[in-house]
């Protein structure tokens, strides 16, 4: 469930984000309540609430008073944009760094990727 290492509210926020990106949670769809989250994952409701708070601050969720939390209209787009930005920084840059460290030329990498693409295309 949770890895007991990084803050759990962060992990909850990340899970919800994943669900939005993958389409499990649709825009303007209601999210489970903090209590439901707490009961499901066996965590303190305040922790779940903190994760939700983080997401409302980021504009991913919005609150309807007395009803609950909903996915914002632009949530998916925002998250996708964020992930694209982070993709180069966190995945590509680090991969290149590793490649340099172990002496894999960039051309090899590009070649590998294109090969994979061709295979996918077939």
């Amino acid at each position: 469930m949770f890895d007991d290492r990084s803050p759990i509210y962060q992990q909850i926020a990340d899970k919800i984000k994943d669900d939005i990106v993958s389409g499990v949670l649709q825009e303007d769809e209601q999210v489970m309540s903090t209590n439901q989250y707490a009961a499901f994952y066996r965590i303190n409701p305040a922790t779940a609430a903190k994760g939700f708070h983080l997401l409302t601050e980021e504009g991913i969720l919005y609150k309807k008073r007395g009803i609950g939390m909903f996915v914002s209209g632009e949530a998916r787009q925002t998250l996708l944009a964020q992930r694209r930005d982070r993709f180069f920084e966190e995945v590509v840059d680090q991969m290149l760094e590793e490649a340099v460290k172990i002496g894999v030329p960039v051309t090899d990498i590009i070649g590998h990727i294109e090969q994979g693409k061709r295979r996918d295309g077939e």
Binding site: R5, P7, A38, Y41, R42, N44, T47, K50
Partner: protein, 293 residues
């Protein structure tokens, strides 16, 4: 109803042995608190004072602003359950429940019967003849059904097997969400219950060494791994909880907020920053010098 708990410079002596040194903290109430500490760290002593089982040697306790000891209005709001319990062993389970029902102002009889059924408590048996797990289950039932505004479980659930323990955690959480009150749980099974706590207090050798929101605590621990020199340079000025060495590689557990700037510096120096579990933090913080590495 939520009752605050305010403890100031609390000291407890048993003869010449000091069980609690100058413990001070404040709990606003209405939350689930975890009290962590090794065996003999003073957990039970502290909780006994909160529940008016004994009186402190020095310092003060205020529950809802009042001193609890021999204060009928406060004592009936604080339910303290210990693993082996203070129930009269010669009584039958039925009578133990009957006494509790007549004493706790908020006793919930329906909830009690639900728990009795759930744990399959034998009502006609005497407490002495119950297995350890059953005694624990009885304790848990008493504590939960008391619906006392402050309910304290002092490792009360350790005698239960894993499935029963987990069902207790679930029960506790559901009950807390239905009727919010203050729960105070002492434990050393941090992995299991850590996620339930909103705040954590750590006692070590009779001293309170930490009182923090659980999530903050989780965020504050970090393990820094890399070459000895750069690790040493990096952790200078940080609170080091423990260190391990493997050849030229060194791993240091630090406690404290790591700023973005520090994280960048660590990356630049080729250091690896890893998270630390609550359990590890607890172990590091309460390790005695003699315990070895």
């Amino acid at each position: 109803m939520t009752l605050s708990i305010e403890v100031k410079q609390l000291q407890l002596k048993y003869g010449s042995f000091t069980a609690l040194h100058d413990v001070s903290f404040q709990l606003e109430g209405g939350k689930i608190y975890g009290l962590l500490g090794r065996n003999g760290s003073g957990k039970t002593s502290l909780l006994s004072i909160l529940a008016s089982y004994r009186e402190q040697s020095k310092g003060s306790v205020a529950i809802g602003g009042e001193a609890p000891f021999e204060n009928a209005g406060i004592m009936e709001q604080v339910c303290f359950i210990q693993e082996s319990g203070y129930m009269n062993d010669a009584s039958r389970v039925k009578d133990v429940l009957k006494l509790a029902a007549s004493c706790w102002p908020n006793w919930d009889a329906d909830y009690a019967s639900r728990l009795i059924k759930h744990y399959e408590l034998p009502l006609k048996k005497k407490v002495t003849s119950l297995s350890r797990g059953m005694k624990s289950a009885l304790g848990v039932t008493l504590g939960l059904a008391s619906r006392a505004p402050i309910t304290i479980f002092d490792e009360a659930y350790l005698g239960m097997d894993a499935p029963s323990r987990y069902s207790f955690y679930e029960e506790l959480l559901n009950d807390y969400m239905e009727t919010p009150r203050t729960f105070l749980l002492s434990t050393h099974l941090i992995e299991e219950v850590g996620t339930l706590f909103e705040e954590v207090l750590i006692l070590d050798q009779g001293r309170l060494i930490l009182h923090e929101e659980t999530e903050t605590l989780r965020a504050r621990g970090a393990a820094i791994t890399g070459s000895s020199e750069s690790v040493d340079r990096f952790v200078e000025g940080l609170t080091v909880l423990g260190e391990q060495k493997l050849g030229k590689t060194k791993s240091v557990t630090v406690y404290g907020e790591l700023t973005d700037e520090m994280r960048k510096r660590a990356q630049a120096e080729g250091l690896e920053l890893g998270p630390v579990s609550l359990q590890d933090l607890f172990v590091h913080m309460t390790k005695k010098r003699g315990d070895g590495q």
